[in-house]
Subunit: 216 residues, 2 copies
């Protein structure tokens, strides 16, 4: 394996750190649509976990001698665009986004982390492992579908829109960041490797939709 | 000391748990006014800490066999009113509110926690001790005042408004909740005790305003 460019490592930490910060923001906002205090707290806890990860990534960037704000800046627009174009209109859409969006992001970053040298690989994998609290979203969505089957059809459409926007914005980020693109290409080996990576992410997405009781 | 009514303990845990949940909400919202990613993350970290406390209080209520949502419900209106009437219009107002508002709330709950039996006293004190991250607010506000002295005058007015609204809403909560009022009166002993409690809280507020470079 070719040695990894440390700027590419910084790029990955930067995009992930901003992703966590903006996920915090949106989860905190979506928590306000909760019909119960329990639901509001559940989404707020997911948001709080994201900030914990953000802090660890910032600390690592500082250790590497890169400026966190400068490193995150190139990724602000793509991630903000993703969230603007997938703003939930209902509490249930918010829950599906929290579960499915978080899952997609986790899978994507985990695939790329595999190409990093340690300690950054370990840090990213550890940060990604500690999301949790998703059980609440699964229970609530399944209960809502059980109560009204039409809800399932609408949320399945919403899930497909989420994955579409996520792919669009990921492609935009990679196309604009040569070092990240090189990191991924060096890691997967060839175009066939890219296809397999996308397939793994798509399969996991379908499994998550199924867990919610939705057709992927 | 008269034995403490367990319903009064539950009331205190309830008001504090909802206070933490709503503080999370407002800090997360105010974080969006940050002019830098560092500032946004700093307020988001304060928000995340509140949710950690909220969770611990909920767990304790569950242990005591009281329903957390029901126990919090009577306090929702007063706390929401406080936040509605003290919605920051600028990033600096948000920082002053985060620092001064959090400090006032902490002092108030800490005074009342002293009247609780353990383990609830220890739990509440522990939850209140672990706020932190306030150094950022102090640095930012002092720097802004140093750059433009008129800022100090406006923020001092804002600080006085915060303390005024906090007192108004605290009085409303206590007036409407006999068990809490009895808990406090039993703890402080007499009207002189109430006056001393208010004086301690006011003094600490003035010290915090001074730390920000503001006249209390």
């Amino acid at each position: 394996m070719t040695p990894v460019d440390t700027s590419a490592v910084a790029d990955l930490l930067g995009v992930l750190a901003y992703a966590e910060l903006t996920a915090f923001d949106r989860l905190a906002e979506d928590a306000r649509m909760a019909p119960t205090l329990e639901g509001r707290a559940a989404l707020a806890r997911m948001a709080a976990a994201e900030i914990g990860h953000h802090v660890r990534l910032i600390e690592r960037m500082t250790e590497l001698g890169v400026d966190p704000a400068e490193t995150m800046a190139p990724f602000v627009s793509a991630l903000d665009t993703f969230h603007e174009s997938t703003r939930p209109n209902t509490w249930l859409e918010g829950l599906v986004k929290a579960y499915v969006g978080d899952g997609l992001a986790t899978d994507f970053y985990r695939e790329i982390a595999a190409f990093l040298p340690d300690p950054d690989r370990a840090l990213v994998l550890d940060v990604l492992a500690d999301t949790g609290h998703a059980g609440f979203a699964v229970r609530e969505v399944r209960a809502a579908i059980a109560a009204d089957r039409r809800v399932g059809g609408r949320l399945a459409l919403w899930g497909r829109r989420l994955v579409g926007e996520a792919i669009t914005q990921s492609q935009a980020v990679i196309a604009e960041h040569d070092r990240l693109a090189e990191l991924i290409m060096a890691g997967v080996g060839d175009v066939g490797g890219v296809a397999r990576l996308i397939e793994r992410i798509t399969d996991a997405h379908t499994a998550r939709m199924k867990a919610l009781g939705l057709r992927g």
